[in-house]
Symmetry: C2
Amino acid sequence: MEPQTPVGEIGERALLRHLRSRIPSGPGVVAGVGDDAAAVETGPLTLVTTDCLVEGVHFRREWSPPRLLGRKALSINLSDIACMSGLARYATVSLGLPRDVPLAFVDGLYDGLLERAAETGVSLVGGNLSASEAVIVDLTVLGQGDRLLRRSGAAAGDLVVVTGTLGAAAAGLRALEKGARLDGDGALSDRGPWAADAADGLEPCLRAQLDPAPPLAFGRALAEQEAVVHAALDLSDGLSGDLLTLCEENELSAWIEPEWLPVDPAAARLEKEAGGDAFSLALHGGEDYQMLLAVPPERVDTLREVAGVWSVSLSVVGQLADGPPGLSLRFGEAMRKLRPRSHDHFAVPERRRDAAPEA
Amino acid sequence: MEPQTPVGEIGERALLRHLRSRIPSGPGVVAGVGDDAAAVETGPLTLVTTDCLVEGVHFRREWSPPRLLGRKALSINLSDIACMSGLARYATVSLGLPRDVPLAFVDGLYDGLLERAAETGVSLVGGNLSASEAVIVDLTVLGQGDRLLRRSGAAAGDLVVVTGTLGAAAAGLRALEKGARLDGDGALSDRGPWAADAADGLEPCLRAQLDPAPPLAFGRALAEQEAVVHAALDLSDGLSGDLLTLCEENELSAWIEPEWLPVDPAAARLEKEAGGDAFSLALHGGEDYQMLLAVPPERVDTLREVAGVWSVSLSVVGQLADGPPGLSLRFGEAMRKLRPRSHDHFAVPERRRDAAPEA
């Protein structure tokens, strides 16, 4: 099979056989790819999550080298498992492929999936191939869990804490829209309209968008800590949208102190070049795949210690309070209502993630 | 929300909330819909399978009432679990929806999913919503298993056994192509070009296509039997294609005795009306979702007893033999090579399941 052969010429049976031959058997896999179902060793509690990338909605083929697309498809599911404080173990891959997609694309996608799986101790155990109009990469990941971090469980007075920095993935999306590109190795291949000295800001933002790195080990480590974190979810829709979700789950309100937001420095640099400001990207931009945590004030120091072990930075960005679900920005003593601008696939035709939250 | 409101107007957040409110909590579900991941109670071994229905590839919206589509999306995954001799427990639902799809369609789909889940003791525990060009219903089902039925394990001399009758789903697909229709309750709503006296053949064929009923309890019951069945898989691609898969998995050949095929009587009646013959539908037609079993000859009587308990009919249709993977039809003492004509999503543009296997 030549790399440029369209999958429609290869045929479903041969393509399945080819992909199956690429997948190594992993620990705990009793029956892997190729049977009616996979059989995997599990504990008394199993975590399940599913998340899907659809061409034209979540990615464009000309923007995403297939290897990075494979990595991202797994990472966004791993993020969900980590935010429950679980350990990801197994994944199934359901692919939809247009018939003219070349084998090289599918192989590149599997390069990324298998590489990311190996990095994180996940075994691919099965899947499904289907023809479709657009490329669809739909993964389900199983994990083990014990002490679960839920979205519920937060209390008024809990501090709102985020990991890492915010806004880089949204800035990366803007850069893609302007023509900047990464190659399959994740290196900058096209600066788009940016000058040479902007390159060191471009690459991390593009990588945050195309190959996110959620704090998996930190999330899992929180299972060892009792009552340090009250509630958690992953930042996929953007801080404002996800914090509203946290509020709704707990029937609480929240305020954010703008000064405290850990705006990603590379995103800030890029936006400044473009005469803008990365603050709204950090507040509303999606796909950071960091963690959003509700933490009782007296436990923040303990949490910082755990974060230090895993080289994860933490920022307190606000607080939960009594009151109907809703968000405010705090300016000194004054509070100003904040309307979340989280991503809505259905309501924003022909637009991707919430990447242009001006004003 | 009015039933005719397009999902694009409702928005992702409100639609998720609405669907979540419809899903009951089930046994073993520690964290259900609405968290980053679901958490479910499992045993030491978990079965996982994923199967996807894509509009324009696996179904057409004008052919499939949404309730039946929901039932089928679950049933085809349940079939995979049953063919491993497992018990399905949990399902996640990943939906892709065009923005103009009305709420009534999504609700109808969930009517079917929830109803079929309740019938079979399955809990919906999570999922994902995404915009897409075509409707996509991608399910992952988790089950429990102990003594697994694999595709491997067959031996030369094993009899080839199928459950139920064959060809009805393929005949149902032909009837849909000619304009016959079921309503959401599974009752005949349009006979298409058929005369009134053909109606009792039409309805079962359409139902086999739109709302398949795999022998779930029988498949599960086989876990209680030691060494009665050597290998099994479900008949989704058609007997010839799936039997070739069984041959390939076991490096064996197989012959089929045409006289022994349990051609579905309703399919036979329909095809006869059209001046044809249902034999090739039974041999090559897909989506029967019956079981294909490799059974040592001395255990067939025991297997018949188990099947009797679950009101499942069994037919010996051929035998496995030494020799390179390949199929033959046996006519008396003569063998004629049989080329499988199983379904290939990629190789047959703009065509659905292998439903027109003339000659």
